[in-house]
Amino acid sequence: MSSSEQIVEARGIKKAYEMGTERVEALRGVDISIQTGEFVGIMGSSGSGKSTLMHILGCLEKATEGTYLLGGQDISRVSDHDLSLMRANQIGFVFQTFNLIPQYSVLENVAMPFLYRKETRNEAGLLAERAIERVGLSARCNHKPSELSGGEMQRVAIARALAVDPLLILADEPTGNLDSETSKSIISLFSELNKQGTTLIVVTHEKEVASHCQTVYHLNDGRIVNDEERT
């Protein structure tokens, strides 16, 4: 993985929703480019369009206008099916509310993405176990999400995102539902994963979280107001 490789290349992204007769513009022209191995933060108040941006970057939604290249592939005009494949193969999601499947064990939750990929059951099991090991939850493989603490659940979610070795992990307010102590440990886990070469985008409104990012984009009313870069 060369450090100069461009993973995300978004130009002039606009997104508008039709709410009845009203047209709500969530994004009004956003440019973002992210390199391999980068740790990017996206900040903004609620309603600033940061969730929409994350959905577009994560291939959950398509932009109304603009071009979006993910790993060199233009996906602004691909079909729903191809978007699904992009999500299955290139993207890992981490959500504020963890979004684990309650009836599945930790191992099954982490192995879930493989249901929609080509790996065999055994391969899936091995890869899932390895991902669980990376987030330090090997001892909890057979527990149900309801038996875990919030921080542990988020680690499971991170393991699920990691398991398929994606190009990019997108985290939407990953510490939003956690206390400050646990938040810190999750953020340090992210930093560690980033050091191991994972490209991360974290959407947050917490300065504490943003302080760990190399680049932070500030979003306001559907536009990027400034981006700061640290080294």
Partner: protein, 410 residues
């Protein structure tokens, strides 16, 4: 796509709502119970009729005396009819060339020392032709011959069970007392399979419990006067490859003529009864089909309802699955699989209950029931199809959900 995983997941999703799943599949259960039990009954009835026809012979015609009241008998006598008699037999034999075998029979009401009142032996007065007509096998001795009939010999042939029940008295060479006469036992029949008949039109005699005597030996003596309806029955076999119906019509015509226009008899054609039975069967099948169809329709609506509820309450899960890479097809397959597993489970429960029902029916109502692999496969396939059809709309609806919006759903 890992099928085993998908099916396992479907199971787990259904087990999370055990009661709801069970209740929603109840319609399918009832439909399958109805289908399995009714197919078993229908098949049993069909086999029963076929077996009876087999015994009676498809190319046979039976003429039976009708039970007339005293007044009707008097009216018939005035028109010079004496009911079925041996003269009828002779003239039928002479007039219709298609008759290959004709055997008259008279049921004799006489008390027999060894016969029990609950389960009396049947005493049948016959001619020698009865043996070949019914294909009776002789175990020991001989059957009644023409000379016995001509000379009115007091001889008798015993059914297998009669001989066994009489013990030492029931051997060839023994004597059987009938009313006030002694009949010499000249033969014993082989054991013969007998099926209890449920349709009154097709009475199958139990030859194992019958005593045969020469026709004519029973009327002399006590009563003296020839009673009305000398014969109870004339059994006629028609030559193969001829029209049985036409022959039956000819027989009827001749007998009416001979009886002075009085129809004091009944012509039964087993072949016709078979056709009748098949027609009834067809109606039964249509009714069965309608019941099953309605139950399945209602059951299917129930399943669709449950699946729609399931999709609605699992919107978030659908969002999660879509986010981690499930395509629309994956979601469709997941929910379809769930509804098919649900209905097939219902189908399996239905089959078990249906088989139980069939067994109970055959025990309690003494109806013959036959389970065919065909009926079970049909039921399962039917249940699966209902699952497929009623699960399709909810599944497609689940797949059409916008992933981003589904994720935001709480």
């Amino acid at each position: 796509m890992k099928w085993s995983q998908v099916i396992l997941d479907a199971w787990r999703a259904l087990l999370r709502h055990r009661l709801r799943s069970l209740l929603s599949t109840l319609g399918i259960v009832f439909a399958v119970v109805a289908v399995v039990a009714m197919l078993a009954i229908a098949e049993g009835a069909k086999r029963e009729i076929l077996d009876q026809i087999d015994i009676l012979g498809t190319n046979s015609v039976i003429v039976r005396t009708l039970q007339l009241t005293e007044a009707q008998q008097a009216a018939a006598r005035r028109r010079l009819s004496h009911g079925l008699d041996l003269a009828d037999v002779t003239s039928l034999e002479r007039a219709i060339s298609a008759i290959s075998c004709i055997a008259p029979l008279k049921e004799v009401k006489a008390s027999l020392s060894a016969s029990t009142s609950q389960n009396p032996f049947e005493i049948l007065a016959i001619t020698a032709s009865y043996q070949s007509a019914k294909g009776l096998g002789i175990q020991q001795g001989r059957f009644i011959c023409n000379a016995d009939v001509t000379w009115k010999n007091l001889v008798c042939v015993l059914g297998h069970e009669v001989s066994r029940l009489l013990g030492n008295d029931g051997r060839v060479g023994g004597v059987l007392r009938l009313e006030n006469r002694a009949y010499h036992i000249v033969g014993i029949l082989q054991e013969r399979q007998w099926l209890r008949s449920k349709s009154s039109a097709l009475t199958v005699r139990n030859f194992n419990r019958a005593v045969f005597i020469p026709i004519g030996t029973e009327v002399m003596g006590a009563h003296g006067r020839k009673e009305f309806g000398e014969l109870s029955e004339i059994w006629i076999r028609i030559v193969r490859n001829t029209n049985v119906q036409a022959s039956a019509a000819a027989i009827k015509r001749i007998l009416i003529q001979r009886h002075g226009g009085v129809e004091d008899f009944q012509v039964i054609v087993p072949q016709e009864l078979l056709n009748q039975a098949q027609k009834t069967q067809r109606i039964f099948n249509i009714v069965l089909g309608c019941i099953a169809g309605i139950s399945l329709l209602v059951g299917g609506i129930g399943i669709m309802n449950t699946m729609l509820a399931s999709v609605a309450e699992r919107t978030k899960e659908i969002g999660i699955r879509r986010a981690i890479g499930a395509t629309r097809k994956h979601i469709v397959v997941q929910f379809l699989c769930e509804s098919i597993v649900l209905t097939i489970t219902g189908g399996c429960i239905g089959i078990i209950l249906g088989i139980g029902g069939a067994v109970i029916i055959s025990k309690v109502a003494e109806w013959r029931t036959v389970l065919t692999p065909w009926s079970i496969t049909t039921s399962i396939l039917m249940a699966g199809c209902v699952g497929l059809v009623s699960g399709l709309y909810p599944a497609v609806r689940a797949a059409r959900l916008d992933p981003a919006r589904a994720l935001r759903h709480e």
